[in-house]
């Protein structure tokens, strides 16, 4: 049985002089793929660096896989993989050499490091290019190498800082597919991104930051439960709309199409009950989930 949570943060605060990067954060992150979402400057990278033990918080504490990165940074780092947002690849090394070196830095024996380097580069789709020098790689290929070096040593927790940054749409899609696959391999991942759709596509848990404050933290389903339901009826749309409004639900009516909600999982049942009472036939009933962007732009109280 795995741990209940991979990260626990209590009163975490960090400032750069007068600029507060993180303000009294309290949250837990369960195993799986977690999205750390927020605009540029929200404090995402600061939080990742604190979890790595590279940055000391000015207040509060964090536990990563049960260890305090401030007290035992090397123990924590030995369990983690990190893909930085910025440039981090030496141009004068081949992809195979660099990823192998990254594995040896994590303590793997040389022979095993070379073998895993090949396997990992295969996994990220760079088997053919692994003996090319990194200076000759495109941005998309470099991002894949960055991911490969982060997972080559089989970390328990992987931190990805804006992994799809700088990629074209096709490259972005492929990177997100790779991240989803990591979750399937039982690697715990924290993905930082300011692109909300990336998080929606890859993560099961979401942490939202805004200017150093925690907006929300919870499973992605909880976010979706608060979406709207799209209804198409045969006739008497206005009658159904009236009954739903009387029930205290928000309704937008356009002919025979209604948008009801937002609401939780009981919303569909309420619509069915009222449509029976209004003597109208339902043609289509689908939940249109509220996007993370909607939630982000309309922040609510902190939830766990």
């Amino acid at each position: 049985m795995g741990p209940e949570h991979i990260v626990k943060v209590e009163g975490l605060t960090h400032d750069y002089g007068e600029v507060v990067a993180l303000r009294n954060l309290n949250l837990t992150i369960p195993p799986g793929v977690t999205g750390l979402v927020g605009a540029n400057g929200a404090g995402k990278t600061t939080m990742l660096r604190i979890l790595l033990g590279l940055l000391h918080p000015t207040g509060g504490r964090s536990l990563v896989m049960g260890n305090d990165p401030e007290l035992d940074p090397l123990v924590v780092r030995a369990q983690m993989g990190y893909m930085p947002e910025g440039q981090c690849l030496p141009k004068d090394q081949t992809a195979a050499d660099f990823v192998s070196y990254a594995a040896q830095l994590a303590g793997l024996p040389k022979r095993e490091a070379r073998r895993r380097s090949s396997e990992t580069l295969f996994l990220v789709g760079l088997e053919e290019e692994r003996f090319r020098f990194l200076g000759d790689f495109s941005t998309g290929m470099q991002q894949r190498v960055k991911l490969a070096q982060a997972i080559v040593h089989d970390p328990d927790l992987l931190l990805l800082d804006e992994p799809a940054s700088g990629l074209d749409p096709a490259g972005r899609t492929q990177m997100l597919q790779l991240i989803r696959r990591l979750g399937e391999f039982d690697i715990n991942v924290i993905v930082s991104s300011h692109v909300l759709t990336d998080i929606e596509e890859t993560c099961s848990w979401v942490v939202m930051l805004d200017a150093g404050d925690l907006l929300r933290s919870g499973p992605l389903q909880n976010f979706e439960k608060h979406g709207t339901v799209h209804v198409e009826v045969l006739e008497h749309g206005e009658r159904l709309a009236q009954r739903l409004t009387n029930r205290g639900l928000g309704v937008t009516l356009e002919g025979v199409r209604l948008v009801v909600g937002p609401g939780d999982e009981t919303l569909e049942q309420a619509i069915i009950e009222e449509s029976v009472a209004a003597d109208t036939g339902i043609v289509r009933l689908t939940r249109g989930s509220e996007s993370l962007e909607d939630l982000f732009l309309a922040p609510q109280e902190v939830t766990e």
């Binding site: 090397l74 780092r77 983690m80 910025g86 981090c88 081949t94 040896q104 024996p109 996994l123 690697i187």
Partner: protein, 293 residues
């Protein structure tokens, strides 16, 4: 027709041994040596270091050949041919070229490429990283001094009229004098080049400044120290390149009088100068890298 299937190898878990910080330090050391020697790099990165290594080894062979040829003519003439101490001047010239390559190459590309963010996300401390870099530097540059001297030592033993073992016994002091002199050269030059490679972001500029300090800077300091003004004697110590040579002369044989010696300083002043410079370099480089990590 056969049924062909492409298997997705997926991701293999690793449950073998991990050597932690020790393995990380070893990896940085090995990568440093390989980087300086151009191993695993493009061909043009190999040309310069391997040319210098070839010259150093060939020079040792040539010196042995000269000793052998002259000794066959007249044994007494061999006294005038430089041996261990004298060869340090020759090898320090080669090592200066090597240091110009090695020092900046060990530190600057890691910073410029942003790779430090990956390295320090591993179980690796700043001290571990820098210690491994210093180790790689000392290994390669030290080898430039010691390996040819070792070849020379073995060669002179083989051509000695007294026999190999007798020669080895009579010259046993070489086995500690050469490493100590090498340490003086590597310590002084290493301290300077590590400070420069930390403060400067371009390898070419760092190399040029290093050359300037060790050649022109030393010459200017030596010249100024001969002027008559209060404290002129102390300026003589700033001719940095003289210090390992003063130690070399102390251990082997006197060749010339260096500015610090002319100003009345003993060999211990040179030892202290090198140690203080190494301490300053360690403090400066460490404090800069702690901010970067």
């Amino acid at each position: 027709m056969t049924n062909q299937v492409i298997y997705d190898r997926g991701y293999r878990k690793y449950d073998g041994p991990k050597s932690g910080p020790k393995g990380a330090r070893r990896a940085v050391y090995n990568d440093g040596v390989r980087r300086v020697l151009g191993l695993g790099r493009k061909a043009r990165m190999k040309i310069f270091p391997w040319s210098l290594i070839t010259i150093a080894v060939i020079a040792a062979a040539v010196f042995i050949g000269i000793h052998w040829a002259i000794g066959n003519i007249d044994e007494s003439l061999r006294q005038g041919i430089p041996t261990y101490g004298g060869l340090f001047d020759f090898y320090s010239a080669i090592s200066l070229l090597f240091i110009v390559l090695a020092g900046p190459l060990l530190l600057i590309p890691d910073r410029n490429s942003g790779a430090l963010s990956v390295y320090f996300s591993r179980p690796l401390t700043v001290d571990g990283y820098l210690g491994s870099k210093v180790g790689a530097f000392a290994t390669v540059v030290g080898a430039i001094y010691i390996v040819p001297q070792l070849l020379l030592h073995l060669g002179l033993g083989l051509i000695s009229d007294d026999g190999f073992l007798r020669y080895m016994g009579d010259n046993i002091d070489v086995l500690w004098k050469v490493p100590v002199t090498t340490a003086a050269f590597v310590g002084l030059h290493g301290a300077i080049v590590f400070i420069l490679s930390t403060a400067i972001g371009r390898t070419g500029i760092a190399a040029a400044v290093f050359f300037g300090i060790t050649t022109a800077g030393s010459g200017i300091a030596a010249g100024v120290s001969t002027l008559s003004f209060p404290g002129a004697d102390w300026v003589s110590l700033l001719a940095v390149d003289q210090h390992p040579r003063i130690i070399r002369d102390f251990l082997f044989e006197d060749t010339v009088e260096y500015p610090a010696e002319a100003a009345g300083f003993e060999v211990w002043a040179s030892v202290v100068f090198i140690l203080v410079l190494v301490a300053i370099a360690a403090w400066f480089v460490r404090s800069r890298y702690r901010k970067l990590a």
